[in-house]
Subunit: 396 residues, 2 copies
């Protein structure tokens, strides 16, 4: 029997503090012409263990944040312009590949120039590859939020970034499996690839059926609560199934669920309802949650130096990899830079990857600090740079 | 470092299952001309340990449910008609008193007729009083949901019920402190009373300031997100402060926060945004959560007989107490019955009270089954009876 007792009401205070500071700092950020999402992350940094320490991340906050990022990616899927998605599909694949392999190589080189080079196949080499993998996993949710704020999410650049990030996620999972299996732990690379392919195959087949079902609902019960609720259930279900049974990130499942429903007649209604739930409670918790994760407790000069190099290489390698690939795909310079910057955001996937590497003995726990800094810096820098780039080089 | 790992994604499945079944059974209930909320409770009963056992209540679900009931009571506060609240204030006080003392007496008599009478002040007598206290705590959230569905929440009867329930809550806290201190545990009755009075005094004083602040916001930023978010922060903050520092139930704090803002120019906008967040995620989890709590594992014939008597006395004593008091307050027969039925719903407060009694050695854990059954039966019966009563005896 679990009864919520007085002690555990602490979660209410946490939520109130997060929502309040996130909104206030979001408004301040906007006054400074910076994206609101940056203010919300800074709010988390400020009230979290890094500065004031009045709110700690807790299991409850983490779960609420996870729902927040799932809603965000679902909304991105819902606002997809199917025609643009098809047009940009091939380009997105090329960009995703470059966005994985350039950071992978540069990360490996960074590691080995700090800790010594090793021949191909050696332990040192595999460790280097793993550090590269840590840099490869894009998590585009912050970019999605920034693009949404700019009203550019379903433009050509926006669509390219989001679909490239989805493909990136799949490639990284395969690379990660490869590296872990080279170290003798983890599943077979073929099984991982098969599972990823199966996920998309099943998502497409069931997607058609689900879409038909929603069209039927839509025709009979337009603008009733049951449609957005059913859509949210489908989104959460897909997130769960993707991660639990296919090893695909839950946010990818949520995005795919959104794409399945993006042509629905009532899609704006669904989006609006999900959006209200998201911005009233879940999204601010997700954004502030990024700042809450940061703590400088275990910081020392060497770790600091490595962390800074790690973050610099992580951000630059994505911009170089994805930017160059975009340019090769005939994007203009300005748009290529936008794609590069948009792809440089990292998120939880990097943390989960780091945890797997720790379990497999590939890295020490010191790396968590570097990974969290990478998430924080990229999450703050990307929205600001995107805003500037869209101002300097307007596009759809 | 807490990272949401694959294992803990279980919470996503739980939420998807709860939202799906709650909506489906809500629709089925409506087809059967029963209130939707009854369907949602039955959904929880079905998927919970009582029947299928595919979803267990967890700490996460409990916390989400708590936010759900807080939002519900906040909405009730927001939709308050201040004039009606003032008109019905005195009547509500009389009804609340009857609604506490009739169940208190009948509960004590029930206990002593099962387990033997004892003289005033004896251990047996105090135990009886405690069982009576268990029956005294009204939790009006289900009634609020039922009245909202009927569109009668801010009518005279609706206003009377909600304000009587708030007063009931305060009286029960004082009675509980009295019983616990008679047993030699718990705080002093005077301190408890003083804290309750202080809560309302502080709520009124700060309420004026908060209302001024919101009016200023409202004038400058009408229909912007910051207003509903600030309102939600105030609501959650009040819930926390009420329970943490004044021993008043969190839902009472939420209701009071709603009343403070009920005259705001933009109140409908705030209500709508809170309502979307509530019905999309939190409220169904709260309703289904009631069903999820039920389990028949430890059931045996004696316990069954006692539980049934307990539930019957609990429900009847509220109807008799509050119904008679309403009649004395010049309500019509039909409306008096509505008030009695509306006041008979019980909720978490009864569970929390039971837990305190267990800790003080006043009852055995067997009582939890009876208390949960009382919550379940009252939560299902009250909305159905209210719907019938409003049909037979229409009123505002």
């Amino acid at each position: 029997m679990e009864v919520t007792d007085l002690e555990s009401l602490r979660f209410l205070l946490d939520i109130a503090l997060i929502l309040l500071t996130a909104k206030v700092f979001g408004i301040i950020a906007r006054k400074l012409h910076a994206p609101e999402v940056v203010g919300e992350i800074v709010a988390g940094l400020l009230i979290g263990p890094a500065v004031l320490g009045i709110v700690d991340q807790s299991d409850f906050i983490n779960k609420m944040a996870e729902i927040g990022v799932i809603m965000l990616m679902f909304e991105a899927g819902l606002s997809t312009d199917m025609k643009k998605l098809k047009q940009t599909g091939l380009k997105a694949t090329v960009i995703a590949c470059a966005g994985v392999f350039v950071p992978l190589a540069m990360g490996a080189v960074l590691f080995m120039s700090f800790y010594g080079f090793g021949p191909i196949g050696s332990d040192q080499f595999i460790k280097g590859l793993f550090v590269g993998t840590l840099m490869a996993a894009t998590s585009v949710s912050i970019t999605v939020a920034a693009l949404k704020e700019l009203g550019k999410l379903s433009g050509t650049v926006g669509t390219t970034i989001v679909s490239a990030a989805i493909i990136d996620d799949v490639i990284v999972i395969v690379v990660l499996t490869f590296v872990l299996s080279a170290k003798g732990s983890g599943a077979s690379v073929w099984v991982t690839m098969l599972k990823a392919v199966m996920f998309f195959a099943i998502a497409i087949i069931t997607g058609f059926i689900v879409y038909k079902g929603f069209k039927w609902l839509d025709a009979r019960y337009e603008h009733t609560r049951r449609i957005p609720i059913a859509a949210l259930v489908y989104c959460i279900g897909m997130s769960y199934v993707a991660e639990r049974y296919f090893g695909i990130a839950d946010i990818t499942g949520a995005y795919v669920a959104g794409v399945v429903l993006c042509n629905l007649h009532d899609v704006k209604y669904v989006e609006r309802k999900v959006d209200v739930s998201s911005y009233m409670v879940f999204a601010p918790i997700f954004f502030a949650g990024i700042g809450l994760k940061v703590s400088f407790e275990s910081m020392n000069p060497t770790l600091m130096l490595f962390s800074i190099s790690f973050v610099a290489v992580a951000l630059l390698s994505k911009i170089i990899g994805c930017g160059t690939a975009s340019k090769l795909c005939k994007f203009k310079w300005g748009d290529s830079l936008k794609v590069g910057v948009g792809m440089m955001t990292r998120g939880e996937v990097a943390l989960i990857t780091a945890q797997k590497g720790l379990a497999a003995g590939l890295i020490s726990s010191d790396y968590f600090t570097a990974v969290i800094l990478m998430i924080l810096v990229s999450s703050i820098a990307a929205p600001i740079l995107l805003k500037i780039l869209y101002k300097k080089h307007p596009s759809d």
